[in-house]
């Protein structure tokens, strides 16, 4: 059997150099995708006949909102794996995902507000979609704050894992909120359920921006998980032998 031994990559020692080799490429790919996405967003995509140019905000808003949910699920997944199998790297991955997820949630909320003001005539409403997304931000902040308040990293891993898993319930609530409740968000002319009705160029722009956000998120998460490995494994022999430490 020549199957790849995936558990090999579950060790920080093997993952650290692997991630290090991937990061520059991920940054390059994310930048190229973002440039292509911005070009489509501003040059190719036509003006929306209802919303005028304000709709172009969706090219950052929608990918940010998607990432806020995807990253949360990834975080809860790695936290759960860490909790069940007691694998250090999984918990570190969960820890590394949280700040990026929180930033995307913040961006989704702020850009949504900047879109809502000219389109709906209000910065904020307490409808189900907006409120559940705000709760997502609080979950991220709670996850980060809980870890910061516990001295032992292993105990923090377990406590934050429970929070992440319980909080994951909120993600389907956000996603389906526009169907389950009569939200203001649903009344808008553009949302995910009506994506096929969008102009193809608009949809393409949005998807490329979303892809750029994915690759960017993976890149910064790898950078952060490498920092966390250095911080948490600082007494390990292999860390002391790293080129960046010895030079």
């Amino acid at each position: 059997m020549s199957a790849i031994n995936w558990f090999k990559y579950a060790a920080p020692q093997t993952f650290y150099p692997l991630a290090g080799r991937l990061i520059p490429w991920l940054y390059v790919i994310a930048t190229l995708l973002a440039l292509a996405g911005i070009y489509i967003s501003f040059v190719i995509a036509p003006t929306d006949f209802q919303q005028g140019e304000a709709y172009r905000i969706i090219f950052v808003h929608v990918p940010a909102a998607w990432m806020s949910m995807v990253i949360y699920l990834a975080m809860a997944f790695w936290a759960a794996i860490g909790l069940v199998f007691n694998t250090r790297l999984s918990s570190m991955m969960a820890q590394a995902l949280a700040p990026t997820g929180a930033l995307f949630t913040l961006l989704a909320l702020v850009t949504g507000s900047l879109w809502g003001r000219p389109t709906w005539g209000t910065w904020w409403v307490w409808d189900a979609r907006l409120t559940s997304e705000l709760i997502l931000l609080f979950l991220y902040i709670g996850f980060i704050a809980l870890r910061a308040s516990i001295d032992s990293p292993q105990r923090a891993d377990r406590a934050t894992a429970v929070l992440a898993i319980v909080g994951a319930v909120n993600v389907p609530i956000i996603y389906f909120s526009v169907r389950w409740w009569n939200t203001l968000h649903q009344g808008a002319s553009i949302n995910m359920s009506s994506a096929p009705k969008m102009a193809v160029t608009m949809l393409t722009g949005m998807l490329i921006m979303a892809l750029a956000s994915w690759v960017y998120s993976i890149a910064v998460t790898f950078v952060r998980v490498r920092c966390i490995i250095l911080e948490r494994e600082r007494h390990a022999g292999w860390v002391r032998q790293l080129e960046e430490v010895k030079s």
């Binding site: 040059v43 036509p46 930033l103 913040l106």
Partner: protein, 63 residues
């Protein structure tokens, strides 16, 4: 191509503040995150180096 001039492009049909605000803020957040991570990495490496030099000198250290 729907823009007749640069000024028309920058005006964004009257929504300049909202559109450029959204894209600008996103860019700012990305720059801050990448920069903050660079600092964090530098700090983490410096700390490991410090611990290493202490143990090279045979010093006991407490954290």
């Amino acid at each position: 191509m729907q823009w007749n001039s640069w000024s028309e492009f920058l005006a964004m049909g009257g929504y300049a503040g909202y559109v450029w605000g959204s894209f600008g803020l996103t860019l700012l957040v990305i720059i801050c995150e990448v920069f903050a991570l660079r600092l964090r990495r530098r700090k983490a490496i410096a700390r490991v180096k410090q611990l290493q030099s202490w143990s090279d000198q045979g010093l006991e250290y407490q954290e």
